[in-house]
């Protein structure tokens, strides 16, 4: 069984982003870019399934600019067997990415597609669910535990108020939550090995997908600043302020 893993190149989670002065977006020139952390968890989970002998091949896919090849090399250094880049300079929104992935699912016929639950740039939390719908596949989002047996998977999900377990038949889509696993550190020998792995490049047209954005960004602004308040010297003053100034207790 093959597993397809989708990885997105995003601004590194340690970078504090700045809004551009013309309010057209966020300034991402010259900032560090990395693999979306949830996608790293997705790659790790796929590689672990391969190490357990449940799957035979892990294919990493990224959609976007040429530099996404670096993100794919990282995925291959974690242990993905090969990479596919769908290259375009066009702004890609979740629906377009889901359509591109659907085309690749048709081509590769994986038993499982694993994605991060959301990307930390647009915070959309859509692509996995959209792919599942387009492919008429069942989905298990926000996974914290995955077990594959035969043509079924048992997935524990993080939901409001606790955990929930679903049984889904394969092929299926799984999206990862934070606590599914802790991705391994990539080692230098594996980075070197990853450079030799196969990486195919397609254009959206090759897959017959129109990726035109459906949602226009009119402007991007800084959030309203919350000004720092005061420091209180002791607990008694704190209680007094809460009771008599803020009046919240």
């Amino acid at each position: 069984m093959k597993v397809l893993v989708a990885v997105k190149r995003v601004v590194d989670y340690n970078v504090k982003v700045r809004v551009k002065s013309d309010n057209s977006g966020v300034d991402i020139a010259n900032v560090k870019m990395s693999m979306n952390p949830f996608d790293e968890i997705a790659v790790e989970e796929a590689v672990r399934l391969k190490e357990k002998g449940v799957v035979t091949e892990v294919i990493a896919v990224s959609c976007g600019v040429t530099q996404c090849q670096e993100t794919l090399r990282t995925a291959m250094a974690i242990g993905a067997d090969r990479g596919i880049l769908v290259e375009t300079a066009e702004e890609l929104q979740p629906l377009a990415v889901a359509k591109l992935l659907k085309a690749l699912v048709d081509k590769e016929q994986p038993g499982l597609v694993i994605l991060g639950k959301q990307a930390i740039d647009d915070d959309c939390n859509q692509t996995g669910q959209m792919l599942a719908a387009l492919g008429d596949m069942p989905q298990a989002t926000f996974a914290s535990k995955v077990e594959v047996a035969g043509d079924k998977a048992s997935v524990t999900r993080e939901v409001d108020g606790g955990l929930e377990t679903l049984a889904i038949s394969l092929p299926a889509v799984i999206t990862t939550d934070l606590r599914l696993n802790e991705p391994r550190y990539v080692t230098l020998p594996n980075i070197m090995k990853a450079k030799k792995k196969q990486l195919d490049v397609f254009k959206p047209e090759d897959l017959g997908v129109n990726v035109a954005p459906r949602i226009k960004t009119l402007k991007v602004v800084e959030p309203a600043k919350r000004s720092a308040g005061i420091k209180v010297p002791d607990v008694a003053t704190l209680v007094d302020k809460l009771k008599n100034v803020a009046k919240v207790i």
Partner: protein
């Protein structure tokens, strides 16, 4: 123009998140219908009919809808989607799970986590963990939206008198089934609906200390308990207590952060709280930059003292 709000419910009652979502739908300026898709959910449908601003409730009832499986609930929404210009879900675990399925089947983009309605096709939503606010305009005929509940007041849960119409339940997809649920038992208010939240961080040091220090404070204030991602990752607190970009987004009247440094992703989840108190022994902790009242102190001393003083 008519909006469809997908109710968050437990078959017996309507969850608070539904009320905030109704307010967002009213702000769009459309007629508002509510879909209650569940099993033996008559009571929830009756409660939905009482919500102020709702003109019709559609009640779909069947075993296929009992566990809220995304495949079946999405099919239920799609069966009636043709009647609506806007389809709104609360941005809860359930809403986020189902909404994109509906959007993809309708071949429309989804607008996630809106915090403000500017016009029927233009909305505001936070991006980059709330470090920027984008104003976005949908070019699609149908707008599929998830609503960040902290961005909108709750609609009144009484005062309405909507008609309840029944709809046939969607057939089961046969591709997924519900196995079980581990619900965290608690007498405390629900995190996303609580008026007061006391939240603990990594400084608590262990799950025993977390309970020992945070529980009396929560009891005294009648508060819900939250936690930072660091505390959850370290196993001090259950995962569903996590407040932050990737956990729960909260906006209580009072948020008390104990031993939480204030990483960007945590601030993203709580900075809309009305009053923020930070107790931390590190004077440089970023949490102080958003706190209305900061107490630079060892939480193991200050929190019990606070409990005694309340």
């Amino acid at each position: 123009m008519t909006s469809l709000v997908i109710a968050e419910h437990d078959n017996a009652s309507i969850k608070g998140a539904t009320l905030n979502t109704v307010t967002a739908a009213v702000a769009i300026g459309t007629d508002v219908h509510v879909l209650v898709a569940g099993h033996n959910a008559g009571a929830a449908a009756a409660a939905a009919a009482q919500i102020a601003g709702v003109s019709k409730v559609i009640h779909a009832d069947g075993a296929s809808l009992e566990a809220g499986l995304a495949e079946n609930v999405a099919a239920q929404v799609l069966a009636i989607a043709g009647n609506y210009t806007h389809i709104l879900f609360p941005a809860t675990a359930n809403g986020k799970n189902v909404a994109p399925r509906v959007a993809a089947k309708l071949d429309v983009g989804q607008i996630s986590d809106i915090t403000k309605v500017d016009s029927p096709d233009t909305f505001e939503r936070p991006i980059y963990a709330g470090n920027a606010i984008a104003t976005v305009q949908s070019t699609d005929a149908v707008k599929v939206i998830t609503v960040r509940t902290t961005g909108f007041d709750a609609a009144a849960s009484t005062g309405g008198s909507a008609a309840v119409e029944t709809a046939a339940a969607a057939t089961d997809s046969g591709k997924s089934s519900f196995v079980g649920r581990e619900v965290t038992k608690s007498d405390r208010p629900e995190l996303t609906a609580a008026k007061i939240i006391v939240s603990g961080g990594r400084a608590l040091g262990s799950s025993e200390k977390f309970d020992e220090v945070m529980t009396p404070l929560a009891d005294k204030l009648g508060a819900a308990i939250g936690a930072s991602r660091a505390a959850v990752d370290a196993g001090y607190a259950a995962n569903d207590l996590q407040v932050g970009q990737t956990g729960k987004i909260v906006a209580p009247q009072l948020y008390v952060a104990c031993g939480i440094s204030g990483a960007i992703q945590h601030l993203a989840g709580m900075k809309d709280s009305k009053v923020i108190v930070a107790i931390n022994k590190d004077p440089e902790a970023p949490i102080f930059s958003v706190a209305d009242f900061g107490l630079e102190a060892d939480l193991f001393v200050a929190v019990p003292e606070l409990v005694a003083a309340l």
